[in-house]
Structures are given as structure tokens and as C-alpha cells.
């Protein structure tokens, strides 16, 4: 068993009954106040129909969704530029990257719709990261490498935030985006000679870690 598995194992012990009781108490304490709000029918409906409900959500949930939206803006802009860069993507990969790009654009629309007036604006981006990846839209290998990086980052980012959405009506939607990012990562990684997955258990990343990785691309 490697270190990562041990990390995950640390979260569970044989005293499972006790842990569950503990978990329930924690959950109740954490969500006692907002859960009244969250359980209300209009909010649940709003989440389902992705109408604006940002103003009614607890601030920490809005923060999570805006964090996700920022990453989706980044990804959507990346594929928009890549998919329209003449001669960049070899023919055999075009359908794949067009599909990925369409998903990221859909995620932006979904999150923007859900957040309504609470949605952050699209960040200014620099996919060369200050010149480090100057050939990002002329060299397919650079493009595919950054694509895999962004997708893996997205997977780890959503995973790291899932706990903050426990007991909220947006958890399922976030999970449904999370696994799509994983599909993307697994589809792109082999293009640059990487296995689709590194281990049996994918690791989460904290918001701080994700932002540190994304910041070079935000100008």
C-alpha cells in the first residue's frame, strides 16, 4: 500500500459505527443553520433548474462555486483558443478536443446560471504563463500537456471541495462535473504518453494548492 492509500485509510478506522455517529454530529453542527434554507423546495428546484440562487446560498458554498467557475472559465478559454488555432490540433484528435471544449463551456454556463448575480467575472488569462509555454497554441504537444494539467487540476479541485458541499443541493451537480473532468484527463493523458490514471485513488487538492497551480495562467 502506498502513501496515498494510507492517507485515505487514515480517514477510516475499524470503529466505523462510532465514526458515523461522530460524522452525523459534525454534519449537524456544520449545517444546522443553512440546512433549513437548503432543504426548502424553491432552492432545491432552483438548483435542479440551474436558475440563479447564488444570493440565497451560504457564503462558503458560493465561494466554492465561484472557485469552480474560475477554473471552468480558464478551461473553456483554453479550448476555445486551441480549437480555433489553425493547424494546432491533428485531425485525429479534433473531435475529442471539440467535445472537451463544449463540456467546459457548458460548465461555465451552468455555474454562472446557478450563481446568478453572485457569479465572478471571467479572469484574464495568459496560457503562455508569462512566456514559459510560448508555443501553447502552435505546438500540439505543449497544448496537450497543458490540457492534461488543467484537467487533472480540475479533478483534484472539485474533489477537494466536495466536502464543503456535503448536505447542499449542489453536491450532486459538482460530482457530475468532477467525473467529466476525470474523463477528459484520462482521454488526453495518453496523447502525451502518460497513463490515464496514476493510482487507484485520485488525490484531492486544497483551494490554495489549486490556485497556486492556476495562478501562472491568470494574468
Amino acid at each position: 500500500m502506498n502513501t496515498q492509500d494510507n492517507f485515505i485509510l487514515d480517514t477510516i478506522d475499524p470503529e466505523i459505527g462510532e465514526r458515523i455517529d461522530q460524522g452525523r454530529r459534525n454534519l449537524f453542527a456544520r449545517y444546522a443553520a443553512p440546512s433549513v434554507l437548503l432543504a426548502s423546495a424553491p432552492l432545491v428546484l432552483a438548483a435542479a433548474s440551474t436558475e440563479a440562487f447564488g444570493a440565497s446560498l451560504p457564503k462558503d458554498v458560493v465561494d466554492v462555486l465561484n472557485f469552480a467557475l474560475t477554473l471552468e472559465y480558464l478551461e473553456a478559454a483554453f479550448y476555445k483558443a486551441g480549437n480555433t488555432a489553425s493547424g494546432l490540433i491533428p485531425k485525429e484528435y479534433r473531435a475529442l478536443f471539440r467535445t472537451i471544449g463544449a463540456h467546459e463551456t457548458a460548465h461555465v454556463l451552468l455555474l454562472k446560471g446557478a450563481l446568478g448575480s453572485a457569479a465572478v467575472k471571467a479572469p484574464k488569462v495568459d496560457f503562455t504563463a508569462g512566456g514559459k509555454y510560448a508555443d501553447v497554441f502552435t505546438n500540439f504537444e505543449t497544448f496537450a500537456t497543458l490540457s492534461a494539467t488543467f484537467e487533472d487540476l480540475g479533478v483534484a479541485a472539485y474533489k477537494g471541495q466536495a466536502g464543503n458541499l456535503l448536505g447542499t443541493p449542489v453536491l450532486t451537480t459538482a460530482l457530475q462535473i468532477h467525473s467529466v473532468e476525470a474523463r477528459h484527463a484520462a482521454a488526453v493523458r495518453p496523447i502525451i504518453g502518460k497513463p490515464s490514471s496514476d493510482t487507484a485513488f485520485d488525490k484531492p487538492r486544497t483551494k490554495k494548492q489549486v490556485l497556486a497551480a492556476a495562478t501562472p495562467f491568470l494574468s
Binding site: L9, G23, A106, I177, R183, F201
Partner: protein
């Protein structure tokens, strides 16, 4: 769909029959005669973890067989990929078993008679069904989880299942839209999310041991 082997259609047909039965009975399926032999998943987080454990048992058994008796004309690179997935599913299964301890359901007896393990299309078609079912199952079960630690565990597994789904899609279709999710992702860019009441009937034809989930919402 037209290029899929008869066994894939068979799988889907079985799934449909099982689902109809479940809906007709308005309960989760109990295909067993004797309740004493049934595996009940239990309630709450235990129920969700046992649910995941049941699905991982199914996947682990499937890939173990697929690697043990490789389909005709399998490429070295394909066998290598199936071995990686097998090892992941075994790791998931064993992890969940350990986490559940004494509350774990017994080892399930599987029924793969509908799968032709000599056929590439049958094996990869079934793998495609299992992986996408797994992704939708974990996504749908997230909201049933109460302990944040267990949500983290489920999250660490589900994205690997999604990666597997892509690997299988790459083997079946190459670098096309399918590898990014294809028809499993809707126009909103969302993956599937299914409740246990939809997932268990789909898995039931492949599991001999009766599995009941009366307490799992």
C-alpha cells in the same frame, strides 16, 4: 451501437428486464428465494459503503476473469490496460472491505454467463457498461453520504472509475468524442448520477447472491 457484439445487446436487454421487474414491484430487487442467503447492504453510510463494495466486487471479478482468459487477438497494450484497471478495482474492493470491517456484506457470487470472454467486443462492451454504471452510481450516492470522510473516499474512487471509462472508450473508439464521455455526458456537460434503485437492477443480472437494499434510500 450497431457495431457492438450481441452480448452487449444481451446485457442491455437483461438490464431492461431487471429494471422493469424492480419498477413493477416498487421495491429494490430481491432475486433470492431464501432471505437467509441474501446480502443486505444496511442503512446509512454503512449501506452506501456496502453498495460501493458490492459494485467493486463485481468489477474486480469481471476484470480478473478478463485478464485470466484474454479475448481473442488481444494486444499486449490492451492486456496491460486491463491489468491496471483490474488492480485498481481490487484495490477499491479491498479498501472498502477493510473500511467496513465486520459490517461488510459477504463476498458476492457473480454470474458472467452473459459475457463472452473470448470476444473483444463483448468484454470491452461490458467493461463500458460497468464503468459508466459505476460512475453514475458513485455520483448518485454522494448525497446519501453523511460523513464527510466517506464522501472523500467515494470522491477518490469515482474519478478513477471515470478514468477507466475513458480508457475503455479509447480502446473501443479511439480518440473521439466517446473518450471525453460521449453519450454519458449530457448537454449541460454533466455526467450520469443514478440512485441505487436504478443501479442495483442493472447490476443484478451479474450477481448470483441476492442483494437487498431495503434500508438504502
Amino acid at each position: 451501437m450497431s457495431d457492438l457484439a450481441p452480448s452487449r445487446r444481451h446485457v442491455l436487454k437483461w438490464t431492461g428486464v431487471a429494471a422493469s421487474l424492480a419498477i413493477a414491484g416498487s421495491v429494490l430487487p430481491n432475486f433470492g428465494i431464501s432471505a437467509a442467503l441474501a446480502a443486505d447492504l444496511g442503512a446509512g453510510d454503512i449501506g452506501v459503503l456496502n453498495y460501493a463494495y458490492a459494485l467493486e466486487q463485481l468489477e474486480a471479478a469481471f476484470y480478473t476473469q478478463a485478464v485470466k482468459t484474454p479475448y481473442e487477438g488481444i494486444k499486449k497494450s490492451e492486456l496491460a490496460k486491463l491489468k491496471v484497471i483490474r488492480d485498481h478495482e481490487i484495490a477499491h474492493r479491498d479498501f472498502l472491505k477493510k473500511a467496513l470491517g465486520k459490517k461488510a456484506i459477504p463476498g458476492l457470487e457473480v454470474d458472467f454467463s452473459a459475457i463472452d470472454f473470448t470476444s473483444r467486443a463483448s468484454v470491452l462492451g461490458t467493461a463500458d457498461v460497468f464503468e459508466n454504471l459505476g460512475v453514475a452510481a458513485y455520483n448518485g450516492a454522494g448525497k446519501l453520504i453523511e460523513n464527510v470522510d466517506y464522501l472523500a473516499v467515494a470522491g477518490s474512487i469515482v474519478s478513477v472509475e471515470a478514468r477507466h471509462a475513458s480508457t475503455i472508450a479509447l480502446l473501443l473508439h479511439g480518440f473521439g468524442k466517446e473518450a471525453a464521455g460521449g453519450k454519458n455526458v449530457d448537454f449541460k456537460g454533466l455526467d450520469g448520477a443514478l440512485p441505487p434503485s436504478k443501479v442495483l437492477p442493472a447490476a443484478a443480472p451479474f450477481i448470483k447472491t441476492p442483494v437487498t437494499a431495503d434500508s438504502l434510500v
